[in-house]
């Protein structure tokens, strides 16, 4: 969809000529002439202005009444006055009115010192009040949720928070109740405002009415420093600013980057900084002695690790995951391939497509950006749940639908939180993404839709409708898809089907294309750094090796002897928990970088290196849309924690590979040299906003020829339930170790739940809340039933809370659900 073009026009503000973008609001236009017009309710991120607070009244020549500058578009030749007596009086009046109710308790207010109400009262207020009636007093502060406190005395009814809940997060939980001067911000029937993005209201509130319960009274603005970095808790890689006091992170705020996050954060990103200082954090190297992990010196840990790895030379596997940087991935690759002569390394949880096909999928010409999602004519959300997998993208998709009329189509197994916004939603059986794509390909190419749709367990008419919509919505179509689509034994076929669909929709163009949500925070960066079997840095050719599942089997079978775990614990995150437990138990050595001892490490790690938190890390990560972003340390490393690039280099040296790395920046430099399409990048270029490599000339290094649709294999049919249930699994946004160890977020930790359709629940005699046992072939997990009317009959969806991966295998599977 063509983005609005910006034309500059000239207007006169307070006697001076100012150039400003046409149709921008006067408030913003005035900034081009260094004129500040005070605002409270205006916040462009929230959509069109509402003109509620009346703070921004100014005089526009030719219009008799004062106008709200927040809602008056800039026009050529306009003459505006912001300093006249009339304007001054009107602005003073609004401040006086707002302060009538305000308690003026700035000395004990968390917002004090960073409060727009204070600033505006000082700058535009009259300085005195004529209001002598008693002020209103309420109980305060009150809980609005376990995370947010509300002080209704301070609220100036600017509407920002409720507009946010209704128009950005679209959760419609935070509302205005009552009317007139009695209006107040609240929720239905004293329910808490708990939603994945609720914390943003804290930053939006221009007064001290909404405060973070975790940050309350921890610091004053003059005690703190702000340090910009990247949140690496999920693939969204939002740009954040750490609030630091005395080398501790006390708060995380958004650092608006419209190309990444639009200035919003999810609550995991906002509050899980607490994990940085959690008691559970590993801050010293540890070695297993007599069955338990004990703290040891660095020398000893490094020696033991290197010795164990060297002993197993040629028989070492490695996995890398959440939060590992590109540099670390690159160094891990060299450690494995060059020092240990091993090729068994993976950063994906399940086998993906072949190197050739994967390259085609990541072709720069086929890549879509985050803003493309917003401005596309249509977006297909395919086999992923953005809310859980890349939360901030969920807000972007909603924004596209709401503001630009983007047509959303959803194709998933589990009902999506985006269904209400979608023009069409198609359901297919869990794991049947390939078959669905084959059906879609057929629908786009005019082939036989029915048989593939049948294999997918999808409604052929709905698939046709979806295809029609994608074809007719307009040229710019973005497909947002989850890594799980191409993970597993038939990943190659699924990827080919996806490429066919792209070719048929002609997605190799600006404004259209693919956006893959990887299964780990820096999934894309790790792949590009070469943490893959059979692919080196920059998707270069490399000797073939085992994928994650293969590594598990080889370890369990004794073919591999040691395992290197860079920030991942497969027992927790990878399918086939039982196989992984056995594999780790059998391994002679398990070397892990970890900040928390999760179950697999606790039981089986032989050496643990304390991992840096994201607030301590330097290096780069790559956003799913190819934006290379820079991490900057905000605080020092606690205890004995060392830089992980350094640890990797030290291990490599002890194993016989010298990599000269005087500084972290040197590691980045090596990486940029090793990945052809990163060539020429520098840390300086990345600056604050990062650089999207597919837009640079060097991107041609990954050019793949346009995909010609291929004849697809006949996809296998999804298993028919026949009394059992098809198992679908998904990882809720809260299923993360950082959430579990952050005191503020602990109440959200994912619980083991299984979602059933009303029909299946009735048949099994189960109601919401029932405790059940979900099992396959004797292996099972305990869970609590949630009956959902939109779950398709025949499927059960298991939340990937702790232990749920015992049941998943990466392949479609049937399970039984019985009362526990």
């Amino acid at each position: 969809m063509p983005r609005p073009e910006v034309r500059m026009v000239t207007l006169t503000i307070d006697g001076r000529e100012v150039e400003a973008p046409e149709n921008s609001m006067l408030v913003d236009g005035a900034k081009h002439g260094d004129v500040e017009i005070p605002v409270f309710c205006y916040e462009p991120k929230l959509g069109p202005p509402v003109g509620a607070c009346r703070m921004c009244l100014v005089e526009v020549e030719g219009i008799p009444k004062l106008q709200t500058a927040c809602s008056t578009p800039v026009k050529d030749g306009m003459v505006v006055h912001t300093q006249t007596e009339r304007v001054r009086k009107a602005q003073e009046a609004v401040v006086e009115f707002l302060l009538i109710n305000h308690p003026l308790d700035c000395p004990v207010c968390d917002k004090g010192g960073e409060c727009p109400l204070q600033d505006i009262s000082y700058g535009w207020g009259g300085g005195t009040s004529r209001f002598i009636e008693p002020k209103r007093h309420f109980r305060k502060p009150l809980a609005l949720s376990p995370l947010v406190a509300i002080d209704r005395e301070r609220c100036i009814l600017c509407y920002r928070c409720v507009r946010y809940s209704q128009e950005i997060a679209e959760d419609y939980q935070l509302v205005l109740l009552e009317r007139g001067a009695h209006s107040y911000v609240g929720t239905f029937d004293s329910t808490p405002y708990v939603a994945p993005f609720a914390g943003n209201i804290i930053e939006l509130c221009p007064v001290g009415a909404l405060t973070s319960r975790a940050y309350r009274f921890r610091a004053r603005p003059w005690d703190i420093e702000a340090a910009g970095s990247i949140c690496t808790l999920c693939p969204a890689q939002c740009n954040i600013s750490f609030t630091v006091r005395d080398d501790r992170v006390l708060r995380v705020m958004a650092r608006d980057n419209p190309d990444v996050d639009d200035g919003w954060l999810c609550d995991k990103g906002r509050f899980a900084y607490q994990a940085v200082h959690a008691d559970e954090r590993v801050v010293e190297p540890m070695v297993r002695e007599g069955g338990t992990l004990r703290p040891v010196s660095w020398e000893r840990a490094l020696d033991e690790a290197a010795a164990a790895l060297s002993r197993a030379r040629g028989r070492v596997g490695a996995l890398a995951g959440d939060g590992a940087t590109n540099e670390e991935g690159y160094l891990l690759g060299r450690l494995l391939r060059e020092a240990l002569d091993c090729n068994d390394l993976d950063s994906r949880v399940a086998r993906g497509p072949s190197r050739e096909t994967a390259r085609a999928l990541s072709a720069p010409a086929l890549g879509a950006t985050v803003p493309d999602v917003e401005f596309a004519h249509a977006v297909l959300v395919l086999d992923c749940e953005p809310m859980d997998d890349m939360p901030i993208l969920d807000l972007r998709i909603r924004k596209g639908v709401r503001r630009h009329g983007m047509r959303l189509v959803v194709a998933t197994s589990r009902p999506s939180s985006l269904d209400p916004n979608a023009a069409v939603s198609v359901r297919f059986a869990p794991g049947a993404g390939e078959a669905f794509l084959a059906a879609l390909d057929a629908a786009l190419a005019g082939g036989d839709v029915d048989s593939a749709a049948g294999a997918a367990g999808a409604d052929p008419a709905a698939v046709r409708e979806l295809a029609r919509l994608l074809r007719e919505a307009g040229d710019d179509v973005v497909v947002v898809w989850g890594e799980r689509l191409t993970g597993g034994p038939r990943g190659e076929q699924a990827a080919r089907a996806l490429l066919n669909v792209c070719a048929r929709l002609n997605l190799r163009r600006d404004g259209a294309g693919l956006l893959e949500i990887p299964s780990s925070a820096n999934g894309r960066g790790l792949r590009e750094a070469g943490v893959l079997p059979g692919a080196g840095p920059g998707w270069s050719e490399a000797a073939d090796g085992r994928d994650a599942a293969g590594i598990a089997r080889a370890l369990a079978g004794g073919e591999l002897g040691a395992l290197y775990l860079l920030r991942t614990d497969p027992v927790r995150t990878h399918p086939d928990r039982t196989v992984w437990s056995a594999a780790l138990a059998r391994a002679n050595a398990v070397i892990a970088h970890a900040s928390v001892l999760t179950e697999g490490l606790l039981e089986h790690a032989t050496v643990v290196f304390p991992a840096e938190s994201y607030a301590e890390k330097e290096g780069t990560v790559t956003h799913p849309d190819g934006r290379v972003q820079r991490l900057r340390p905000a605080i020092g490393r606690p205890g004995g924690v060392r830089a992980e690039w350094q640890v990797l280099a030290d291990v490599a040296r002890r194993a016989g590979l010298e990599i000269a790395l005087p500084t972290g920046a040197a590691a980045t430099k090596l990486l940029f040299e090793a990945v052809p399409f990163y060539a020429g990048l520098s840390l300086v270029d990345l600056a604050a906003d990062g650089v999207r490599w597919p837009e640079r000339d060097a991107a041609s290094a990954l050019d793949a020829p346009a995909w010609e649709p291929v004849e697809l294999e006949r996809p296998p049919a999804a298993p028919s339930p026949n009394g059992a249930l098809r198992l679908g699994t998904f990882r809720p946004i809260w299923a993360a170790p950082e959430v579990e160890v952050s005191p503020a977020l602990r109440f959200l930790s994912a619980r083991a739940r299984v979602e059933l359709s009303p029909g299946d629940a009735r048949r099994l005699g189960l109601a919401s809340g029932a405790r059940v046992h979900v099992s396959h072939d004797g292996t099972g997990v305990a869970a609590e039933v949630v009956v959902r009317s939109d779950v398709p009959a025949g499927s059960a969806f298991l939340h990937e809370a702790q232990g749920a991966n015992a049941l998943s295998s990466g392949e479609p599977r049937l399970v039984e659900v019985r009362p526990a």
Binding site: A52, L57, A93, V94, F97, R130, L157, G180, A181
Partner: protein, 426 residues
């Protein structure tokens, strides 16, 4: 001359048969045979000004509605909540088909394919009548070109304001919207929307029947036609009267409504509902039309006259006004939400004897801070009458403040006479 109220109590007039028997729906037939722009031209020629408050020419507003095939909406404003106003109620209760016909004609003229009558929730019994009449009209094939729905509100004065009405009709809180965009361009569900008052739309069939030019001969040059005036308060015959615009106000207050009781005189009157700045006895000789009322510093508004005689302390009037608008402020914009509340607090304090004459200045100043600064004119609707009370009766208010203070401070007996209006706990 009776148009809207012509034999309005005729039994059965609210049925389609009786309405038709006296020529009803004939204008609709004629209008449907005309091109839409011809119908708009007739309405324009009639000079018909909106009867809901603002007095904007209906023909002009209809002409703003863009042409084209999109969904367009017509909304009849039947929220009638302005204190002192009760004309739409009687029009809808007794002659619903006249309104439905007006809507059908206006919908044809503007190409609106969907229409709503937004009626205040308190008028449930009237809405029941409308529901029946709409069903009759639909069954008779008179509404083939427009889908008409009667929508009941739930009690909020602000929903009479046209953009708040739209929000309310969309199922939201009734908060006014910023203008522009004006409803004619982006109204209900973001579509072009024509909004008119019940009386305005009920007049449309007469305009078509008579021809715009003929209609324009009624009334004055800039206030054409007839108008239903609701008269209430201290008059002997309160109720609705259809008058030709421009007759002397005195003729309405004394001639038709009978004036105040024997021995009483008109102390002040609201010429256009409680939002209109008050006028005094001397203004009774002004012609009752839009321009004369405006020239006198007030407005004709919805055409509702509230008469107040000399038994009533002005401070009571101020209190009723302030209390009403405080209760009805939607709360969206600051000056209205806080200004109304503050004003009420000051008036009550004056009455309790806790004020000094200086508070009159503050009160007047607060009204200045409200007027022209709000999102919609509800704030002004309190500030203008309150300011007018201060302007016309400053001395009485001063005296009241002093007397109340004396009573409170025991300088005179607290029991000395003062009718204390019982306070409502809303």
């Amino acid at each position: 001359m009776k148009l809207l109220f012509d034999r309005v109590d005729e039994p059965g007039l609210n049925t389609i048969d009786v309405y038709r028997a006296r020529g009803g729906y004939e204008p609709l037939r004629r209008a449907l045979a005309m091109r839409p722009d011809e119908v708009v031209a007739q309405i324009d020629a009639s000079g018909l000004r909106g009867r809901g408050g603002a007095g904007f020419q209906m023909g002009k507003k209809a002409a703003f509605i863009p042409k084209g095939d999109m969904d367009k909406f017509l909304v009849c404003n039947a929220d009638e909540s302005e204190p002192g106003t009760f004309k739409d109620r009687e029009l809808m209760q007794k002659n619903p088909h006249q309104l439905i016909e007006g809507i059908a004609i206006a919908a044809h003229a503007t190409g609106c394919n969907r229409a709503f009558i937004y009626i205040r929730g308190e008028y449930d019994y009237v809405a029941d009548i409308l529901d029946g009449s709409v069903a009759e009209a639909r069954a008779a094939g008179l509404l083939n070109h427009v889908d008409l729905v009667v929508h009941r509100g739930a009690g909020a004065y602000i929903c009479g304001e046209e953009t708040a009405l739209l929000d309310s009709l969309e199922g939201k809180r009734g908060n006014p919207r910023l203008k522009p965009p004006f409803p004619a361009n982006q109204g209900l569900y973001q579509g072009p929307t024509l909004i008119n008052n019940v009386e305005t739309l009920s007049t449309v069939p007469h305009v078509i029947r008579m021809g715009g030019a003929e209609y324009a001969k009624l009334g004055t040059e800039t206030s054409t036609g007839t108008k239903i005036v609701s008269v209430s308060g201290h008059v002997r015959r309160p109720g609705n009267y259809e008058i030709e615009l421009g007759i002397p106000s005195r003729e309405i207050v004394y001639g038709l409504a009978g004036g105040p009781a024997e021995g009483r005189r008109v102390k002040l009157w609201f010429p256009g509902g409680s939002s209109a700045p008050v006028l005094t006895e001397e203004h009774l000789d002004l012609p009752y039309d839009f321009d004369s009322m405006a020239k006198a510093g007030s407005m004709l508004g919805s055409g509702s006259i509230i008469v107040i005689d000399d038994t009533v302390p002005v401070i009571d009037v101020a209190k009723w006004v302030a209390k009403f608008y405080t209760h009805e402020s939607c709360g969206k914009c600051t000056p209205c939400r806080e200004g109304t509340r503050w004003t009420l607090a000051m008036v009550e304090r004056m009455d309790r004897g806790e004020a000094t004459p200086m508070d009159i200045e503050i009160m007047a100043g607060v009204q200045d801070q409200i007027i022209g600064h709000c999102l919609c004119v509800l704030g002004d609707s309190m500030a203008m009458p309150i300011a007018s009370l201060v302007k016309h009766f400053r001395e009485e208010i001063e005296a009241h403040i002093e007397a109340a203070r004396a009573r409170r401070e025991g300088i005179v007996s607290p029991d000395s006479p003062r009718e204390q209006p019982t306070e409502a706990t809303v």
